[in-house]
């Protein structure tokens, strides 16, 4: 029983619940499934025990999906939160984006749902530190530079803001890029067009969506602590972009299909996103990592000593609970332990590693977030 994963399904339409129960009957060996016919019942279920995964409808009477998701975020931080809705109303989507990790559209086929549940349940294994898991699952995304948020709001305040300008701002910030890609890849944009760069993702979302995002405080995680790290953070962004482009080029050289080319790019761009989260998580303690590295420790080792996990684990966990494709998650997980894996069926990890090496050669001092407390 203790091995069983726990999931809570919430919907005000009982037939949805019974349909799910029947369709997911095959999971009952591994999963402890709770079906709550409303937000209130779901809250009670959360009170009794935090599930691994919460799947909730958005529009419900009394306690709606948003309220439930927010309550879950506070009460059961490590729970992976999925919205399952037939609505594409922008305001609701943005509210969901603030509190849910993924957005599944009804009708959602059972395999996708099962897949999402399995991945979510497995995510915790990527990051063995519960406190870190809780932190990553609680924040809406990697921290964004306050400057970026200000610039974004300023541009969107103008009535004539054009999407290119907005996309440029987005792409200039790794945290915001990650969040935009999250919205596009995790079902929030409704459609899932075949895009990969943050610029494209921004254009797919559209100005109105970005404006709604900027105005909802919960959607963007503004990293107030990052202010002092600003120049470094920008260098991370540039570094990540270089590696992403390099990875993309490599993928194309190898004749991979569009999907994998995009995966290579995404993996390259987001491989260090865990560093942002770690810096925010550790706060002042992040300097210790730099000190350890300065003393000759490897980066992974230093991170492990200070935080209990590497930035690769943190990043992989985030991408995993966001529902990013497995090859990306895997590549990000292993990128700091080169050649340590034999599971790289897609070759994305290989490409990422090569891209990083090439980057190391051209730029021997790969930028890192660690600030030595000299």
């Amino acid at each position: 029983m203790a091995d069983k994963h726990r999931v809570v399904f919430v919907d005000d339409e009982p037939r949805i619940l019974s349909g799910l129960r029947r369709a997911l009957r095959s999971l009952h060996h591994d999963w402890d499934m709770v079906f709550a016919p409303g937000g209130q019942e779901a809250l009670e279920a959360l009170e009794s025990a935090c599930p691994d995964v919460l799947v909730t409808d958005m529009r419900m009477p009394v306690v709606d999906g948003c309220a439930l998701l927010r309550a879950a975020r506070e009460r059961c931080a490590q729970t992976v939160r999925l919205a399952l809705s037939g609505h594409a109303d922008r305001r609701m989507v943005i509210d969901a984006a603030a509190a849910a990790h993924q957005y599944l559209s009804k009708p959602c086929d059972t395999d996708s749902l099962k897949n999402a549940l399995q991945k979510a349940a497995a995510s915790s294994q990527l990051l063995p530190v519960p406190a870190l898991r809780a932190f990553v699952a609680q924040v809406p995304g990697p921290p964004v530079l306050p400057n970026t948020k200000q610039a974004l709001v300023a541009v969107l305040e103008e009535g004539t803001a054009d999407i290119d300008t907005v996309a440029h701002i987005v792409a200039g910030d790794l945290g915001l890029s990650a969040k935009v890609l999250h919205l596009v890849h995790s079902g929030f944009s409704g459609t899932t067009p075949n895009v990969c760069t943050p610029q494209e993702a921004t254009a797919v979302l559209g100005i109105e969506m970005l404006r709604a995002m900027a105005h909802n405080c919960d959607v963007i995680n503004v990293g107030q602590d990052l202010t002092t790290e600003c120049p470094k953070t920008q260098r991370w962004t540039e570094h990540s972009q270089r590696i992403a482009e390099r990875a993309m080029a490599l993928a194309m050289e190898r004749g991979l299909d569009t999907t994998h080319v995009h995966q290579a790019y995404t993996a390259g761009l987001l491989h260090d996103v865990g560093q942002l989260l770690l810096v925010q998580f550790l706060g002042d303690r992040s300097g210790a990592i730099g000190d350890l590295v300065a003393n000759g420790l490897s980066l992974s080792e230093a991170e492990r000593q200070v935080a209990g996990a590497t930035h690769a684990q943190v990043g992989a966990y985030l991408l995993s609970i966001w529902g990013f494709p497995l090859p990306i998650v895997r590549a990000v997980t292993c990128h700091d332990t080169p050649f340590g894996t034999g599971q790289d069926a897609d070759g994305i990890l290989q490409i990422l590693s090569e891209a990083m090496q090439a980057s190391d050669r051209t730029n021997p001092d790969p930028s890192s977030y660690r600030v030595a407390r000299s």
């Binding site: 339409e13 349909g19 369709a23 095959s26 009804k106 009708p107 797919v204 080029a249 194309m252 050289e253």
Partner: protein, 913 residues
């Protein structure tokens, strides 16, 4: 000079005076004598009187018998020795016709000359004469009115012939009168009475005097005219009573009587005689006169006829003035009414009045009722000499000066009468000048009197005229001035009306030209009489081509049948009518829609009424309306679709979940069940045998093998249906995205969802084939692009439907999407009827349609072009072959990130998807 003529000579007068002074008037005596004397005695008396008067030696009188043209010697006086007439032997002497005529005229004949003619008489005389000392004879006729009564023969000395003739002339006249009385003529008295009676009634003054100039008679008119009583003046000398002066010189005439004398008077002619009365008043008169002659032509007095010319002169003057006025007024009227548009009417008025009045200053002002101002517009009569002008002490320009007349002043002006005011009173007009200037003006020009007259028209004040008179001059012809001002009022009013009319006309013209609406006027028989600029612009034909032509026969590029039917209906019913969305093609070839409003124009004289057609081009508005309607429709469809999607997605979710469950359950159930039955079959257990029979019987009953194959398939198909439904719902939601913002969309996906939505439009007439590249990202407003693509697809379906018709055959629509350079190119190929080459790009025009009326407004492709070319910077076009098919192509710029490969990215490999 004849002896009988009465000569106003000094000599005869003195002679008469002398005779009078002798105490005896031989003439009067003679008359008295003759009154009662028998004929022969009368002759005797006459002879004696002649003898005495002539102082001749011998005088013989012979009477003339006209019947025989003979003279009979009746009496001889004087020297009997010379000739003693023998009464018994009185002889008659023949008097020739020529001599008779000669004598009848009163001509004197001297003996020598007449000797032959006088025949026996003269022979007798001559016989006598032989013994006389006298050597000559004078024969004088006694004649009256051309009738010879008698002759008198005088023995005279040759040098005395004339004087004798003169001396006896009055006697002969009286004698003639006396001798003739027996012929039944009136007596002198009778005649006098008659004369007096006649004269009494005359309106001319008649004064009769005797030969001495004493007033004998004066008719009442004369008494009145001269101012005297007849009884006071009769018997007085006329020159004492009547004084006639020469008006030109003021000199009185010496003798009034002489005025009466006709002909070559020795006095200088009197140019303008005036009668001066005792009270020194004078009157112009005409003097005529005639001598009063007795039967012998002797002057007995004078008859003076005086005619008072005052009235006539006045009448004449009035007549003249009237004529002049008339000429002036008619001329000025012509001037005023024919004044050119650019001439200043006020100047003309001022100058006209000045011309008429003569010496004055004339100010003409216009009244501006809305401001209650009199504004001086013209001035005449002020010297324009520079010197005087320079000396003019006022500074305000007189023309243009303004004043506000009080209510009372306006009222006074409105009477339209000439008001005389003193400048000091400063009524109204003077206030057009400053007080200072006015004073200066009055002083400089010695203004003592001012006249003011309002220029009024039908009770409203148009302006005013001010006349400023120099010194003490006055207007002596106020009526004319008033008439003139009335004319001026008429002209001003006319000018104002004309200007107003012209203004209205211009305004109307401008309105007609400026209104964007078509204005076509049709008369009672359908001919065009108005065709404004908008009609030229929108319909093509020029105004001068159309005016006067019947509308029905004009080639106007619009739906003529419909228009004409509406015109006919409008005329027939006499009711305004409207027809909307009338198709027409503009001169530039574009198709348009027009809204026509028809109004009947009732005609008084004919039974057919005209029609006014007012048309507006509604194309742009209709485009906007349809765009707006389309946008609204898209938005509401989007909202609806989102709602429907949600409503459908929920049941779809649990339908699928349940189906999946059933699928799994059936699989498990069937697999397990069949396995169990199989186990049972292989069992040797008898008890099982029995059970198996039951099971097999049931198995047979429910046809288990059939269920085993059909149930999973049924479930699979049900799941397929759910999947397709979910796909359509998703496509619908994606297709009708309500957001109007620009986003990046996957063109292939957009086409797929569009095709899914349009499926119903084409599925019965065409198969759909898609050949779509997957990663075509374009930046666009998804809802609009989807709509544009839908319109093209629907158009293709319609083209095919038109071709396959009712045959039931199917065409094919092929949609491909691929990269073409920096463009994403979509080609929609259909196997429809094709587009005729002459239609060309018109297919993209709003409201162009080849479909039947009512089947569509031809908006689809126009909308597609607007969205693609105008709003997304794309291109749209088509290739077509009639009867084979059409390919519409659309090019949209690829999203920037996908465009031309950048330096770092080898894009060539990326295309391989």
């Amino acid at each position: 000079m004849g002896a009988t003529s009465l000569m106003p000579s000094q000599a005869s007068r003195s002679e008469a005076t002398r005779a009078a002074n002798e105490g005896a008037d031989p003439l009067a005596d003679l008359v008295c004598a003759l009154e009662g004397a028998p004929e022969v005695e009368a002759q005797q008396l006459l002879a004696r009187a002649l003898h005495r008067a002539s102082a001749c030696d011998c005088v013989a009188v012979a009477s003339y018998q006209a019947d025989y043209s003979t003279l009979t010697l009746d009496a001889v006086a004087g020297d009997d020795a010379l000739w003693t007439p023998d009464a018994e032997t009185r002889e008659a002497f023949f008097c020739s016709a020529g001599l008779t005529e000669y004598l009848s005229k009163g001509q004197a004949v001297d003996g020598e000359k007449a000797s032959t003619e006088l025949g026996g008489l003269l022979t007798a005389c001559c016989r006598l004469g032989a013994d006389a000392k006298m050597s000559d004879w004078l024969v004088l006729p006694v004649a009256r009115c051309g009738h010879l009564l008698a002759v008198a023969v005088f023995s005279v000395a040759p040098d005395e012939t004339e004087s004798v003739a003169q001396r006896v002339a009055p006697l002969l006249s009286l004698a003639a009168l006396s001798l003739s009385r027996h012929d039944g003529q009136e007596t002198v008295l009778t005649r006098r009475h008659w004369l007096a009676e006649t004269l009494r009634g005359m309106d001319n003054a008649v004064v009769a005097t005797d030969a001495q100039g004493r007033i004998m008679h004066m008719n009442p008119t004369a008494q009145e005219m001269i101012g005297v009583k007849a009884d006071q003046v009769e018997g007085r000398l006329i020159d004492d009573v009547i004084t006639i002066v020469d008006h030109a010189t003021g000199q009185p005439l010496d003798s009034v009587r002489l005025c009466a004398l006709p002909g070559d008077s020795a006095l200088p002619p009197i140019v303008d005689p005036h009668l001066q009365r005792p009270d020194t008043t004078t009157s112009p008169i005409q003097v005529r006169g005639a001598p009063i002659l007795d039967d012998n032509g002797m002057p007995q007095g004078t008859m003076l006829v005086l005619r008072d010319l005052t009235a006539q002169r006045e009448a004449n003057r009035r007549e003249m003035r009237y004529t002049r006025d008339l000429a002036f007024l008619s001329r000025s009227a012509m001037d005023l009414l024919q004044v050119g548009a650019n001439e200043d009417l006020y100047d003309l008025v001022a100058e006209g009045i000045l011309e008429w009045v003569g010496s004055a200053i004339v100010l003409v002002s216009a009244y501006a009722p809305e401001r209650r101002l009199l504004i001086t517009r013209a001035i005449a009569g002020l010297s324009h000499g520079t010197a005087e002008r320079a000396a003019a002490p006022w500074r305000t320009p007189l023309v243009g000066a303004q004043t506000t007349p009080s209510r009372a002043d306006r009222q006074a002006l409105l009477t339209g009468e000439l008001l005389s005011v003193t400048p000091q009173a400063r009524v109204n007009e003077p206030r057009t000048l400053s007080a200072h200037d006015w004073d200066a003006l009055c002083i400089t020009y010695r203004i003592r009197t001012a006249y003011l007259i309002g220029i009024t028209w039908k009770g409203s004040l148009l302006g005013s005229v001010t006349l400023l008179m120099h010194d003490n001059e006055t207007i002596d012809n106020p009526e004319t001035v008033e008439t003139f001002v009335r004319q001026a009022a008429l002209a001003l009013q006319r000018r104002r009306s004309e200007e107003a009319f012209l203004e209205i006309h211009r305004h109307n013209e401008q309105v007609l030209a400026a209104i964007p609406s078509i204005l076509i006027g049709l008369d009672g028989v359908g001919r065009i009489y108005e065709w404004n600029r908008a009609a030229e612009t929108l319909l093509g034909p020029r105004r001068d081509e159309m005016i006067g032509r019947p509308l029905q026969r004009c080639q106007i590029p619009w739906d003529s049948e419909r228009v004409w039917a509406a015109v006919a209906a409008c005329r027939r019913q006499g009711q305004p009518d409207e027809i909307v969305d009338v198709r027409y093609s503009r001169p530039d070839g574009h198709e348009g829609l027009m809204h026509l409003a028809l109004s009947p124009i009732p005609r008084v004289d004919g039974d057919e009424s005209g029609v006014l057609i007012l048309g507006s081009d509604m194309t742009a508005r209709r485009v906007l309306e349809t765009q707006l309607a389309q946008a609204q429709r898209l938005e509401s469809i989007g909202r609806l679709a989102a709602g429907i999607a949600h409503e459908m997605n929920t049941p779809l979710q649990y339908v699928r979940d349940n189906l999946l469950f059933v699928q799994e359950a059936v699989h498990d159930l069937m697999g397990g069940l069949v396995g169990l039955i199989q186990d049972l079959r292989t069992s040797r257990d008898v008890a099982h045998r029995e059970l198996l029979d039951t099971i097999e019987a049931y198995e047979h009953e429910i046809d288990l093998p059939y269920l085993r194959t059909e149930m999973p398939e049924a479930i699979t198909q049900a799941l397929e249906g759910v999947t397709r439904t979910a796909g359509i719902v998703g496509a619908m939601r994606e297709f009708s995205q309500p957001a109007s913002e620009t986003r990046i969309v996957n063109l292939g996906r957009a086409i797929e969802s569009t095709v899914a939505v349009a499926r119903h439009e084409y599925r019965y007439v065409a198969d759909m084939r898609l050949d779509l590249m997957d990663d075509l990202l374009v930046s666009c407003v998804p809802g609009e692009i989807n709509q544009a693509l839908l319109n093209i697809v629907v158009n293709a379906a319609h083209a095919i439907a038109e071709r396959v018709g009712e045959s039931g055959g199917k065409g094919r629509i092929t949609i491909s999407a691929r990269r073409a350079g920096d463009w994403a190119e979509v080609r929609v190929h259909d196997t429809g009827i094709g587009i005729a080459p002459e239609i060309g790009d018109k297919v993209f025009e709003p409201f162009f349609t080849t479909k039947e009326v009512g089947k569509g407004m031809g908006q689809g492709l126009a909308m597609a072009r607007r969205v693609i070319a105008e709003q997304h910077g794309g291109e749209i076009g088509f290739e077509s072959q009639v009867g084979v098919g059409t390919t519409f192509w659309v090019r949209l710029p690829l999203a920037r990130n996908q465009q031309a490969p950048t330096d770092s990215e080898p894009a060539s490999t990326m295309k391989e998807a």
